[in-house]
């Protein structure tokens, strides 16, 4: 319901992380909000936190009426948060112990007229604008009469309206239908917030849900709640529309060759997923990214699950990644979290406060899959999603690692489903062949950038990780010793081939020379024979001429006889 002049309902911000977003501005001003839920669901903390925030941030005093716990208990509980509660009491925060002693004798009906008069006086005295009635169900139960319950609830409502106070009433109601006064309580409140604590896969999950908000829109679904150093934090939904600044600046991954494969590194503010089975150097790659960030003088945050900071520093230094100086200089913050018994939501809140504290430009989470260890996978998925979007909103370049159970990159996508949101997805795997296990790196995807489609070998050495050139032979990528062998073999073969070629050429040249020599010799021979022939035919003619001359001579000399004729014939 909008105010009569058409203005939106005035609201007071609670200052509670996430809640002001989902309630579109906080709780209704000068109206009553009802917090309902089972024990331990966070109602009291929420209510007290509203008062503390108002007192600390706006210097607005508030009154806390405690029907259930003693104010001493509440103070002790509140002291566990960084609120500086003691310094606020009693000027900015007044506690009224409305806890009726169990020895108290009840003889007949009573009402709250006196208490409200006292509270009105106190309100005037300290100028309070907020009031909390914590555990009104306890008081109402004491009335032992449904009619009286209703009457007193109306009395409180009227009193609140008269005194222009913004009120929070908490009631311990687990089963809505069983509580007689629930309907009245709901009616009296302009805003109803339901708190729930339940167990999901042995991990307590706390949620918050606005079930009613007169005159205002609100995010209606259940939101996860957890307790941080500043009290309750609500894992509010991100805006439905995704709006990230898209940077075209590149950030190195710490490995030159990997940068080259990615077309110059990853985009600033993008998210990179490194997946792989255990031992594929995911942490090393993540560590190189963090080190590179620190070398550029950027602040980095390295979040590790189930591995101590010291251990990470030591292990990475063995492959030439020196994080210690950066930790010392304060550029790098390594945070190690245990995963057992901590829900994904709590991890998210812790990460958020860490990001706020350290203000990193680069963030590493190793491995992100660890958040799914406790609690349901659904919850972890939602957290992973929100985490990535939150980090993107801050413009932080993110590298997360994900443990896959099998070597098939496809199976990773079924786990946390991070691969769909990540901008770049690098998969590490083993290639086992001829007694060797070699690490292989593949870029499965990289949005908005050219990237190599080839598998490369990742080699770890004392000076860090490097990628070696792809060795393709016969349509196969070879690695490790096989690659080396192949390389050596290939070189030898080339040398041999060259030697063989040279030799053949020499042989041929020799043969050619030989032949041409032979040709020359033959030519000479031919010439000689021709000359001989010419000579011979000349002689023959001469002889022919001379023989006929000689015949004539002989005939003339011997006056030819038959014997001469026969002689002549024989000579012919």
């Amino acid at each position: 319901m909008r105010a009569k002049n058409g203005q939106p309902l005035p609201k007071l911000a609670t200052g509670i992380e996430g809640f002001d977003e989902l309630s579109r501005g906080g709780l209704p001003r000068h109206r009553t909000s009802l917090l309902i839920g089972g024990p331990g669901a966070g109602k009291t903390v929420f209510a007290l936190q509203c008062l503390v925030n108002a007192a600390r941030q706006q210097r607005v005093p508030g009154i806390f009426v405690a029907f259930e716990e003693s104010s001493r208990q509440i103070m002790a509980n509140g002291a566990t948060f960084n609120w500086g509660l003691a310094s606020l009491v009693p000027k900015k925060l007044f506690f009224l112990d409305a806890h009726l002693s169990p020895t108290l004798v009840k003889a007949g009906d009573f009402d709250l007229a006196g208490m409200l008069a006292m509270l009105a006086a106190k309100k005037k005295e300290m100028g309070a604008q907020w009031i909390v009635f914590d555990g009104i169900d306890v008081l109402v139960t004491l009335l032992q009469d449904p009619v009286a319950e209703m009457q007193e609830i109306y009395r409180i409502r009227d009193w609140l309206a008269d005194n222009a106070l913004t009120a929070i009433v908490t009631a311990k109601i687990e089963n809505h239908t069983s509580a007689v006064h629930y309907g009245f309580l709901q009616f009296m409140a302009d805003c109803v917030v339901r708190f729930e604590r339940r167990h999901e896969d042995r991990v307590a999950a706390q949620t918050i849900q606005i079930t009613k908000y007169r005159g205002s829109s609100y995010a209606a679904c259940e939101f996860p709640v957890s307790f941080g150093p500043l009290g309750i934090e609500v894992g509010a939904a991100e805006a439905a529309e995704i709006e990230h600044r898209a940077s075209s600046g590149r950030v190195t991954t710490g490995i030159k060759r990997l940068d080259a494969m990615l077309g110059g590194g990853v985009f600033r503010g993008s998210s990179t997923l490194i997946s792989g089975v255990p031992g594929t150097s995911k942490t090393t790659l993540a560590g190189m990214f963090a080190e590179a960030a620190c070398r550029r003088g950027e602040r980095a945050l390295f979040v590790s699950f189930d591995e101590a900071a010291e251990q990470i520093v030591r292990n990475l230094s063995s492959v030439g990644i020196q994080l210690r100086p950066h930790v010392k200089s304060g550029l790098l913050r390594i945070y190690s979290a245990r995963t057992g018994g901590t829900s994904a939501e709590e991890h998210l809140l812790k990460l958020r406060s860490l990001i706020r504290e350290h203000q990193p430009r680069c963030l590493v989470i190793d491995p992100l899959t660890a958040i799914a260890k406790a609690g349901t996978l659904g919850a972890a998925r939602s957290v992973a999603n929100r985490l990535i979007y939150m980090v993107k909103d801050e413009g932080i370049t993110l590298v997360v690692t994900a443990l896959s159970e099998t070597d098939e990159p496809q199976t990773e996508s079924t786990d946390l489903q991070v691969s769909t949101i990540a901008d770049t997805w690098i998969h590490l795997s083993y290639l086992v062949r001829s007694g060797e296990r070699n690490r292989a790196l593949t870029i499965i995807k990289s949005r908005g950038t050219w990237h190599s489609n080839q598998v490369r070998e990742l080699v770890l050495s004392k000076s860090g990780a490097t990628l070696t050139d792809v060795y393709t032979a016969g349509g196969e990528v070879l690695m490790g010793t096989l690659r080396w062998e192949k390389e050596v073999e290939e070189t030898a073969r080339t040398t041999r081939r060259r030697a063989e070629f040279n030799q053949k050429r020499r042989e041929l040249q020799f043969a050619e020379a030989n032949l041409s020599d032979q040709i020359k010799a033959l030519q000479a021979d031919l010439e000689r024979q021709r000359a001989e022939l010419a000579l011979y035919s000349g002689e023959n003619e001469v002889r022919n001429v001379s023989s006929s001359d000689r015949e004539n001579e002989l005939r003339r000399r011997r006056s030819s006889g038959p014997e001469d004729r026969s002689l002549r014939k024989a000579a012919k």
Partner: protein, 112 residues
């Protein structure tokens, strides 16, 4: 109507009999709220019947003296405090349950 009705009632109650054990009572009320009006009437009747010897009753209107009531630990109204003799006791409600009031004030034993 409340202050007028209350004051004439509490003055005769507050008279001192000057007898041995004086029961000192303080009743906190909230103006003319029905429960408060009833409580005064019920307490008056009890005093007449069981505390003829001597008692001292002070009626505090929380609407008029809220700070004092708060300082004295009053929560709901009406609320009756027995200050002496010890042990002190507190009874809340309109005092319609006479037996419980007497028990709480330590008067029932005397009667029986």
């Amino acid at each position: 109507m409340s202050p007028r009705q209350r004051k004439p009632q509490h003055k005769p109650k507050a008279r001192r009999a000057g007898v041995t054990t004086v029961v000192v009572l303080r009743l906190y009320i909230a103006g003319g709220a029905p429960n408060s009006v009833q409580a005064i009437a019920n307490l008056e009747a009890i005093c007449r019947e069981y505390l003829k010897d001597g008692h001292k009753l002070e009626v505090v209107d929380v609407l008029e003296h809220p700070q004092r009531a708060m300082a004295e630990g009053v929560l709901v109204t009406p609320s009756l405090a027995k200050l002496t003799p010890l042990p002190s006791a507190t009874v809340v409600g309109n005092l319609s349950d006479k037996a419980r009031v007497l028990l709480a004030l330590g008067l029932k034993r005397k009667v029986q």
